[in-house]
């Protein structure tokens, strides 16, 4: 069976773009990806796309061209982009089509996400009494983790400091000014132990990828990349998830653990083969916990890794080289594909000032979101 290659990548800068709809940002990314692969929209045989708050992806055809292409909408919360990519992968693997597009975009209003208890299968009182906030969940999960594994607030600040530093080297990032560790620690507390600089914000942006059968990839690019692993999991019993009025006393693994394991098995490689990773950093604590949940270190090892700068761009194991969610914001439908985009740029050696040194060959992505879903990929050159 043929491998699947990524031969075109496109992005609309993340952040706030007044006057440009989420859908238009998606079209921008799609056109950039087509141009990158030196093909036209009529060459695309299928597409998957989605957003969580900016409309139906398939309406992009009115701007891209009415070619009759099968364009399927994907809606899967924070894993929308990841699910579009996985669907495109499977479509090519199955032999149904040879070349297609995965696209994700979004545009959210400012401030924390609004929550609707009944849409989440919960009772009204849970929202009315002020328990239904994602920020509380993130504060409580890392609070317990710090207690169990000796992670310090200093480590939380180091993650955010790195994110802003990397964002300052990324022309597509939203937050492009470095923020010092001291300012991060002294920033307004949002949900203890997390200050405002440690959180990402809802934002806008779009990413499109063009995928094809590996054996025809050289027609479109001199540097094809290969999607070697991609897997998606929902939450198992005992995982600690957002919007939980109660939790099992016996704790279990997060959905990330299962998704990571499946992705590595599919790719047939080990953690030691990964040269860089983009890990979901909804806030600083998430990046720390996800380093261990994805199997890149043991619980508690992160403190020393961060103090030693291991996850910096020039460190032993660079993480979130484009500034992650903290510097890019989180347009839900686009966020997972942004991670894949960044890995493609890095593996092509085209990341400029934020390029990971020594020609990285294998890169990993991990997206995580409500209500307990996780999707991972492994890409090689």
């Amino acid at each position: 069976m043929t491998d699947v290659a990524i031969v075109g990548i496109g992005i609309h800068p993340f952040g706030r773009t007044d006057g440009v709809s989420g859908l238009q940002q998606g079209v921008h990314a799609a056109k950039e990806a087509l141009s990158d692969a030196e093909i036209e929209w009529k060459d695309i045989e299928f597409a998957y796309g989605g957003s969580s708050a900016a409309g139906s992806a398939d309406t992009m055809v009115s701007e891209l061209g009415l070619t009759g292409v099968p364009f399927m909408n994907v809606s899967n919360g924070c894993a929308t982009g990841g699910s579009a990519l996985l669907s495109a992968y499977t479509t090519i693997k199955s032999g149904q089509f040879d070349i297609g597009m995965a696209v994700g975009f979004d545009k959210h209003p400012r401030g924390a996400f609004n929550a609707d208890p009944e849409a989440a299968g919960l009772q009204k009182w849970y929202g009315e009494t002020g328990l239904m906030l994602t920020t509380q969940f993130f504060g409580m999960k890392i609070q317990r983790y710090m207690h169990d594994y000796g992670i310090t607030s200093d480590a939380l600040a180091l993650v955010a400091e790195k994110a802003f530093n990397n964002g300052s080297l990324n022309p597509n990032a939203w937050r492009r000014d470095p923020v010092s560790k001291e300012d991060i620690l002294n920033g307004m507390m949002v949900s203890d132990p997390l200050t405002k600089f440690m959180f990402c914000s809802p934002a806008e942006g779009a990413v499109a990828l063009i995928l094809c059968r590996a054996d025809i990839a050289s027609k479109f690019t001199t540097k094809p990349l290969y999607l070697k692993g991609a897997a998606f999991r929902s939450r198992p019993l005992g995982s600690f998830e957002v919007f939980s009025p109660s939790l099992e006393i016996e704790r279990g693994p997060s959905p990330t653990v299962g998704a990571a394991k499946a992705t590595f098995e599919m790719a047939g490689i080990g953690h030691e083969d990964i040269d860089l990773a983009q890990l979901q950093d909804t806030e600083s604590g998430a990046e720390i916990m996800h380093m261990a949940e994805n199997g890149f270190c043991k619980d508690g090892d992160q403190e020393k890794m961060l103090q030693d700068g291991d996850t910096n761009i020039d460190g032993k194991f660079p993480v979130n080289t484009d500034g992650g969610c903290i510097a890019n914001g989180e347009p839900v439908g686009a966020s997972g594909l942004r991670q894949v985009y960044e890995n493609c740029v890095q593996l092509r050696g085209a990341a400029g000032k934020r390029q990971v040194p020594n020609n990285p060959k294998t890169a990993y992505t991990h997206v995580y979101g409500a209500p307990g879903i996780s999707a991972c990929t492994i890409i090689t050159n």
């Binding site: 929202g127 009315e128 009494t129 509380q136 409580m140 949900s191 203890d192 099992e248 006393i249």
Partner: protein, 137 residues
């Protein structure tokens, strides 16, 4: 004195000198649930009113809807939130009261309390459950 009532039915026993949260137990698996599930396979149970603090945070900004406290952002008073481990049963998410958040510590003994929250349009005071440090600890 205004009348008081729980913010939702079947959340805690009320009125009561010793209120308890109402959960349910899956009769096949023995698993506990809170709030209680309405199902033939579940029996209603009163949960323990004492437990240990498993984790916590503080809500430091005024939540958006569906939060119902009517207050200007500058008058909003931050509140602590945490999970209480009720031994042998389940961990429940709750507001934490009766303590300065700076004094909160994972593992501390907590007990259930019923607290007034806001008034509804009829002038009734709505009651919520919360946990406070145990007097014995």
């Amino acid at each position: 004195m205004s009348t008081q009532k729980p913010i939702a039915d079947n959340l805690f026993t009320w009125p009561s000198d010793s209120p308890k949260l109402i959960g349910s137990k899956d009769t096949e698996t023995g698993r506990y649930f809170f709030p209680a599930k309405n199902s033939n396979q579940h029996e209603k149970v009163e949960l323990s009113n004492k437990g240990k603090l498993w984790t916590w945070t503080v809500q430091r900004f005024l939540p958006k809807t569906p939060y119902i406290e009517q207050v200007a952002p500058e008058d909003f008073k931050p509140y602590a939130v945490g999970y209480i481990e009720l031994p042998g049963e389940i961990m429940v998410e709750s507001r934490l009261v009766g303590i300065d958040p700076k004094e909160l510590e994972i593992g501390m003994e907590m007990e259930l309390t019923i607290e007034p929250f806001v008034k509804n349009e009829e002038g009734e005071e709505l009651l919520i459950f919360a946990f406070k440090p145990s007097v014995n600890s």
